[in-house]
């Protein structure tokens, strides 16, 4: 297979056979309860140096509470898949947790941009679609996925993709390597104790990433009876055997919104948007992350019931989310 062009990025690539071995040995087929606290879940399933991915966006259903717990536990040297996310990645950089970022979409605001310019974090440029395709390849157990974009650009040259001649048409085609994250974090509307999980609305690549990842941590807005999943199997987003840990975290996406459950907290988000200097970042982390024991304390002391109720009350669009 002659490579016409090869991008320069370092890639986290797992041979499909090695990933299969992991699945065989570590992913439990038995229906066992996997309910953990966020502290236990992150402590057990996120290690220094891990490659982590998450779904969905920073303003809608992002796994914010889990990300804050990673920072609280001061994980180091994470490689982050920054797909359609904004603050999570910036906070992970601010907390000194992330050293490398595969870019889909790199945060916003100037904080993270400066971290890159100053060399505190290394970025590898991909695209949102390429990362989603890489995840799909990882989820199918194949080594790469062909795509018809990236071609011709610096993004390609700085990515870890390759260009080859497609044997069927003779034309150049781009191959993106499979992505098998070490950890996938996802906040869902509903889960049971075994890990069956349901998301309402759209998602980036929830099933792809859960299948492609070694370790999957689900935080759930609400816990439901296992039979609920069997009564409406089309609504199941993740079957339990993909999932390693379930954490019951109401308002787990805060300050993002969760469709049909609560609106985003724009005021708090503006606090995040305003972070530019290192001092601001560390101030934010000290107050909202390090300064609390866990998500419950965060909600209790830093947000408050009244505000949470107000955000919930404003989530009046329920159509389609059931």
């Amino acid at each position: 297979m002659e490579t016409l062009l090869q991008g320069t990025a370092e890639i986290r690539f797992t041979h499909p056979d090695d990933f299969r071995d992991w699945v065989r040995q570590h992913k439990r087929r038995e229906m066992v309860e996997k309910l953990l606290t966020e502290r236990e879940a992150i402590s057990r399933y996120v290690a220094d140096g891990d490659y982590i991915a998450y779904d969905f966006s920073s303003l809608t259903r992002g796994p914010q509470a889990l990300v804050r717990e990673i920072i609280r536990q001061r994980r180091k040297d994470l490689w982050v898949c920054a797909e359609f996310t904004l603050h999570e990645t910036a906070l992970l950089v601010g907390g000194g947790c992330a050293s490398r970022i595969d870019v889909g979409f790199l945060g916003y605001g100037s904080y993270i941009g400066r971290a890159v310019s100053e060399g505190r974090v290394r970025v590898f440029d991909w695209t949102n679609g390429a990362l989603a395709s890489r995840m799909l390849a990882g989820a199918r157990g194949i080594p790469f996925m062909p795509v018809r974009n990236l071609l011709g650009t610096d993004t390609l040259r700085r990515s870890g993709a390759r260009v080859v001649n497609d044997p069927f048409t003779g034309d150049p085609v781009c191959l993106v390597p499979a992505l098998n994250p070490d950890v996938f974090l996802v906040h869902v509307h509903q889960a049971d104790a075994f890990g069956n999980a349901r998301i309402f609305g759209t998602n980036l690549f929830a099933l792809e990433a859960a299948m492609a990842a070694r370790k999957v941590i689900v935080s759930a807005e609400e816990m439901v009876d296992p039979l609920e999943f069997r009564k409406d199997p089309s609504r199941t987003t993740l079957p339990y055997f993909l999932v390693d840990a379930v954490v019951h975290l109401p308002f787990g996406a805060y300050p993002a919104g969760l469709q049909a459950r609560y609106e985003l907290d724009l005021e708090h988000i503006d606090k995040l948007n305003a972070i530019q200097a290192e001092e601001q970042m560390q101030g934010y982390l000290a107050e909202y992350v390090y300064g609390v024991e866990d998500h419950a304390e965060f909600l209790d002391e830093k947000v408050g019931w009244r505000r949470l109720q107000d955000l919930a009350r404003r989530a009046t669009i329920r159509e389609g989310y059931h």
């Binding site: 359609f84 916003y108 695209t127 390429a130 395709s133 990236l150 724009l266």
Partner: protein, 265 residues
């Protein structure tokens, strides 16, 4: 005289370009407002496609800034799916228009949204990167680029080519393996409207904001675009457009704020 911001001007000019009963891949941010405005005033049957998987939403106002998958944005979609499917629609030719932002463009409509200055490893300024922009610019039939009008953004050589325009000229996209007959179609700025010359694939000035001259608009650009003989006078934001934008879409005024401009009605 009408007063408006450069952001409002871009949104209104872009909204008039969309075609009713067509599909459009809507990038994050300003393109969302363009589509919302167009849907309300010009193209009620526009089918929006969002990269995270909403197909054909009837987005509610006001726009919740920063969001793309929130319940108001994706209200009453035809289908809720995910990113791989969203881009598959573009990949198979189902998406007529794409609309994305840019930090720099060159004479062939190639786009930089990744970095400015310095080296790749240590850029002077780092931007978000492609997002889904590379997919949109590669796979949709006609791409509309939206960019604040600053002459220094029109460069001879991009600091980084994030998303493909016509690459190095006619046939460049096909040679690279990109889908046939695709490419940038219009560049909307806060002062001008550009297209591309069919033969050379080079940027061509099609219109300038009413009251401005081509010379003013092109001044300071690193390359000189072709200039169409009969330049269109771009109507500044109409009262109706501004009413919908300011009262319905962004009553907070945060998203549509920008540099103040004025023009003759």
């Amino acid at each position: 005289m009408v007063e408006f911001t450069d952001t409002e001007c871009m949104i209104c000019t872009a909204a008039r370009l969309l075609e009713d009963r067509k599909t459009v891949f809507v990038g994050w941010g300003m393109p969302q407002l363009v589509a919302m405005l167009a849907e309300r005033l010009y193209t009620p049957n526009l089918v929006q496609v969002f990269e995270f998987g909403a197909i054909g939403p009837q987005s509610l106002v006001p726009f919740v800034r920063g969001t793309m998958g929130g319940p108001t944005n994706v209200y009453r979609s035809l289908s809720w799916s995910n990113m791989n499917w969203a881009f598959a629609y573009a990949g198979t030719g189902y998406v007529d228009y794409g609309m994305i932002g840019a930090a720099q463009i060159d004479a062939y409509g190639n786009v930089n949204s990744t970095l400015l200055g310095g080296t790749y490893e240590r850029p002077a300024r780092r931007f978000p990167g492609s997002g889904g922009g590379n997919e949109v610019a590669s796979l949709c039939w006609k791409t509309i680029l939206v960019m604040k009008h600053e002459p220094r953004r029109f460069v001879e050589r991009l600091d980084f080519m994030t998303s493909p325009g016509y690459l190095n000229g006619p046939g460049g996209r096909e040679k690279a393996g990109l889908p046939r007959d695709t490419g940038p179609w219009r560049v909307v700025t806060s002062k001008a409207l550009f297209g591309f010359d069919e033969e050379t694939k080079r940027l061509a000035l099609l219109g300038v904001l009413k009251g401005l001259s081509a010379g003013t608009v092109l001044e300071g650009m690193e390359f000189r675009p072709l200039v169409t003989e009969r330049l269109e006078a771009i109507v500044p934001p109409t009262a109706e457009e501004l009413r919908v934008l300011r009262q319905q879409i962004d009553p907070s005024g945060i998203v549509i704020r920008g540099e103040q401009m004025r023009a003759e009605r």
